[in-house]
């Protein structure tokens, strides 16, 4: 499968992001993203829900163009997206008979050593849920059980489908 990472973004922002990238370059300082997440989560735990839903809605729209049919391909694509956007290294294990998957993200650019006392990957949890819901149309639940933001070695998610 040919995957252009920015296809999904272009679909939502209708070419404007590409024009901006030509002018400003392709990369944004990681601090901006980390500060944003840190600030939102510091204001109120309520933003965790907003971030989860934001991630979910974004990826649900974005995934529509990708022709993915099975679970293995879905998780593989997710890991490519995480790798190419430099968000982190994603590993996964699918337990199809249990309708469950475990996802690990190492060196997560959002949460790694954030020094936060709580989980910080709500956008990513929502992103994974929305990505899979966009493909399989069912209700996908993703929750984070370990997070590098509070000192865990990696971020770990349980995906229920």
């Amino acid at each position: 499968m040919k995957l252009r990472i920015h296809d999904e973004e272009e679909k939502i922002f209708r070419g404007k992001a590409e024009r901006l990238r030509e002018k400003r370059g392709r990369f944004l300082d990681m601090h901006v993203l980390r500060s944003l997440i840190y600030s939102l989560c510091s204001i109120s735990p309520g933003y965790e829900h907003s971030l989860y839903l934001a991630g979910k809605e974004y990826s649900k729209k974005a995934v529509k163009k990708l022709k993915i049919r099975d679970l293995e391909q879905s998780f593989m694509t997710l890991s490519i997206i995480f790798d190419r956007t430099n968000l982190g290294t994603m590993k996964y294990k699918i337990f199809e008979e249990k309708h469950l998957a475990h996802v690990i993200i190492e060196e997560n650019a959002i949460s790694y050593a954030l020094g936060f006392k709580r989980n910080a990957c709500h956008f990513i949890s929502g992103y994974i849920a929305g990505f899979l819901e966009g493909i399989f149309k069912g209700n996908i639940i993703v929750y984070e059980i370990k997070c590098a933001s509070k000192g865990d070695r990696w971020c770990e998610f349980v995906v229920k489908f």
Partner: protein, 229 residues
Amino acid sequence: MQMVLNKIRTGISGLDEILQGGFPSNSIIAVFGPPGSGKSIFCMQFIDQGLKSGDSCIFLTTDRSPEEIKDIAKDFGWDLSDVIFIDDYSWRSGVESGGKYCIKDPSDLNYLNILIGDILKETRSEKKRIVIDSVSALILYNNPNFAMRFLHIIGAKARLYNSCMLITLESGVHDERAINLVNYIADGAIELDFIEGEGRRLRVLKMSRTKHDIGWKKFEFGKNGIILV
């Protein structure tokens, strides 16, 4: 006089007057508001008033650990050590809290339903107060239809056991259908808001068996909690 006897005092200075004594007994009250608007403090104050009135108080927390809630409450001079906490938060950290009731799987609403039912049966106070802070997490980590069905069942149980139940919901997070369903389940609804430069405000959107003002009222956090100004 009879009307006052059937009311559950919120403990929030100014709000009980607007509500002619407090929330109706055996009712479900939804508290809406954006993150940071003061929903959790509202709940803690409601629970503190319950303890002072001798009610049994159950607090289902999805966004903070029970220890964090007790710490925040202490800042306002509230001692919540007698509250029965259902910890639906600590599973996220992978470490179980030392509390008696700790949820291991946020998507197992059946277990949560049975657990709340058992606690309601065990508690002997004539009146009970239940807080679910927040329903938003239940909706996000579950099929929204299941979450609503769960609320409906818990609401019925709460009424059966002479309880007043407070549920919080984040504004701007859920679709209109979810908000409408919560509104349908609830007997009363209060909206909190925060406007930059103007401060915090609240309004009573609906309250069964109560004539009330629907206008916005400004409030602030005083030394002993929320005060309407």
